[in-house]
């Protein structure tokens, strides 16, 4: 062995040459399994990252749906309460029964004028009916009260009421000759219809104060005298008294409606002949109703400004194929044409991200793929300004919450478009002459090329501020962007709005 010794440099080079040309290292699936575990532990998985976006969106959707459900329940309650009060109003015959039990043998004609302030606000026609439903005339000539079964039979009461109504109409026609009599009735009904306090209203107030007083403690004060009936009976009764009592009894009955146990009420009335404070409450309610009307009739805010943000899920074709959410951020303006009808517009900067495997949908210049098949998948990333013009109608308007439907058109101004092509060639294959992607900017604008549909809920958070949640659907009418594809976007607009004075 007389050959030359290897220097350090030579030795290093020798080692390097061999070690830098690895052989036989093949992909090891078990190594990847370990890698996956490590990734999962570190939460760096791409799927979890994209899902993180969804969570707040889903939560918001559920909250708004839950609220909607709550509103529905609440509204049903309200309706049923109205029904209850109506039912009670049919039981306004009760004063008759009471009078019966009292065995009053006055010269009073027994009659009831009924009114229901609740109904006043809800339904004017009912009100006027009830207001002018004055009498159940029970054998006034003999001054003996017909005895009706004390136990309240609702059906019987209803019958009585109907009788009363029948009589009433005839009574009114009969009494039409007597101005003194008819006029106050009209005034009453009009005031009860929720209009601003009039003279008639003043009279009501006065009369209310006297509600139970004017009659003897023994007699049933709440049984109003209907002058019509009286005149029919040939009895002369003071007009003022008539009014007072009639109206008074009406308000008393309102009290009944609030405290639905009918029999209890009868007891209460026996025990307390003093003026009933609820009369004032009812008056107050009437007044407040009329105030509300007044407010509603004042000019409403016509303009509102808002900022909006939304996740944006865009796909080509099926809506459930979305991959990653983009985002919408923008400003909006709303103009109310009518109280419930408005036009909304604005400018919304949108990031639309979508992947598509429907390469046929994607139009390219001839020869773009250089004679190869197109990519297996296209990943698009577009920045778009969306200018919507929508018509919005409030289908239900509550004191604080309202629900609306909206439809209209959008224009898309495509600021930047970027498309990455994935050919699925296998990792070692060369792209060759295939394009890896495409980018364009400010080339494609689509005026009114998109239609919008949405529904939402608006909730006032202060006098002039409100928030809105509005799930939306946007479909392009034709192809948009460089690839001329039809896009569908969905998401939920979250709005913060400010009403301009």
């Amino acid at each position: 062995m007389s050959s030359r010794k290897l220097s350090d440099k030579e030795f290093d080079r020798y080692a390097r040459n061999i070690l830098k040309k690895p052989e036989g290292i093949v992909f090891d699936e078990s190594a990847w399994v370990a890698m996956e575990k490590q990734l999962a532990q570190n939460g760096a998985s791409s799927t979890s990252a994209s899902l993180r976006w969804l969570i707040p969106a889903v939560l918001l959707l559920m909250t708004s749906l839950g609220y909607l459900g709550y509103q529905k329940v609440f509204d049903t309650n309200k309706n049923s309460s109205v029904l209850v009060s109506n039912e009670n109003s049919t039981a306004k015959i009760i004063p008759n029964h009471e009078s019966n039990s009292d065995n009053a043998s006055n010269q009073l004609t027994e009659s009831t004028a009924t009114s229901n302030s609740n109904v006043v606000s809800e339904n004017e026609s009912t009100v006027s009916n009830e207001n002018s439903r004055p009498t159940e005339n029970i054998d006034s000539k003999s001054n003996q009260v017909k005895h009706v079964n004390n136990s309240v039979d609702r059906e019987a009461s209803l019958d009585n009421v109907e009788k009363g109504i029948a009589k009433e109409s005839s009574a009114i026609t009969k009494s039409s000759g007597s101005e003194e009599l008819t006029t106050p009735v009209i005034e009453n009904s009009s005031s009860n219809e929720g209009k601003l306090p009039t003279e008639g209203m003043g009279q009501n107030e006065e009369s209310n104060a006297q509600v139970t007083n004017p009659t003897n403690s023994n007699t049933e004060s709440h049984i109003a005298t209907d002058k019509n009936e009286e005149s029919e009976n040939g009895e002369i009764v003071d007009g003022d008294n008539y009014e007072d009592e009639a109206i008074g009894s009406g308000f008393e009955i309102i009290e009944i409606e609030y405290k639905y146990p009918i029999l209890t009420l009868a007891n209460v009335q026996h025990q307390t002949p003093e003026p009933l404070p609820p009369d004032h409450d009812n008056n107050a309610q009437l007044l407040s109703d009329s105030h509300e009307r007044e407010i509603i009739q004042t000019p409403f805010n016509r303009w509102s400004l808002g900022v909006v943000i939304a996740p944006d899920f865009t796909t080509v074709g099926q809506l459930n194929e979305f991959t990653r959410p983009g985002i919408d951020i923008g400003i909006t303006v709303e103009y109310f044409i009518l109280k419930r009808l408005s036009i909304t517009t604005g400018a919304i900067l949108t990031r639309k991200l979508y992947n598509t495997t429907d390469i046929e949908e994607y139009t390219v210049p001839a020869g773009f793929w250089n004679g190869n098949d197109g990519p297996s998948e296209i990943a698009a990333n577009c920045k778009v300004i969306d200018i919507p013009i929508n018509l919005r109608y409030r289908i239900r308007e509550g004191e604080r919450t309202s629900f609306f439907l909206s439809a209209g058109m959008s224009s898309y101004l495509m600021l930047t478009e970027r498309y990455d092509y994935d050919y699925n060639l296998g990792y070692r294959a060369s792209l060759g002459s295939r394009p890896g992607g495409w980018e364009v900017a400010n080339e494609n604008n689509h005026f009114f090329g998109v239609y919008n549909l949405s529904a939402g809920i608006n909730r006032k958070i202060s006098k002039n501020m409100s928030i809105e949640a509005e799930p939306f659907l946007k479909n392009t009418l034709g192809g948009v962007g460089w690839g001329q594809v039809r896009l569908s976007s969905t998401g939920m607009l979250l709005h913060l709005k400010y009403n301009l004075k």
């Binding site: 290897l6 040309k21 990734l39 994935d422 990792y427």
Partner: protein, 186 residues
Amino acid sequence: MKNKVNILIKDCQKQKQGSEKALYEHFFSYGMSVSLRYTATYEEAVEVLNDSYMKVFKTIKNFKNDTFKGWFRRIIINTAMDHYRKMKKYDFLEGYDAGNAEAIHAEELITAQLSYEDLLGLVNQLTPSYRTVFNLYAIDGYKHEEIAKTLGISVGASKSNLSRARQMLKNLLKKTLDYEFSEAIG
């Protein structure tokens, strides 16, 4: 080829589903060729590689206009250094005496035609500190100053470690060559 790598990287940056595995698989062989040199066993090499990939996936968003392999190799070497520092306290052979220097002759090497696997097996037998310094200097082209800084030792220590590492490797190589020679003749 470069385009394909770029697409792989872009997919990872966009957190596209399956992109991580695609990248992992694509660079597995290359990554292992680096990590195997710095470690004693295959399992250890996979550990270093996976830790390196973790760093890659976490920081790939910031990866721009660089050759991926170069970037990836630096990450693997840094990760291997982390492992080396962890292993150091168990490194009882730190003061291993390289023994008498055995001379290696060029002809021997040419005749023997050692394979990649053979040489890698020898490198794996080096003590961690020798292996690390030898790899950094002889294979990956680091300078003594850089090695000293990376390992937290003096430049002198780096130089003496390197020369002892070479000596140890030569001795191991000589044994192999002698064995192969004896096999060949006998």
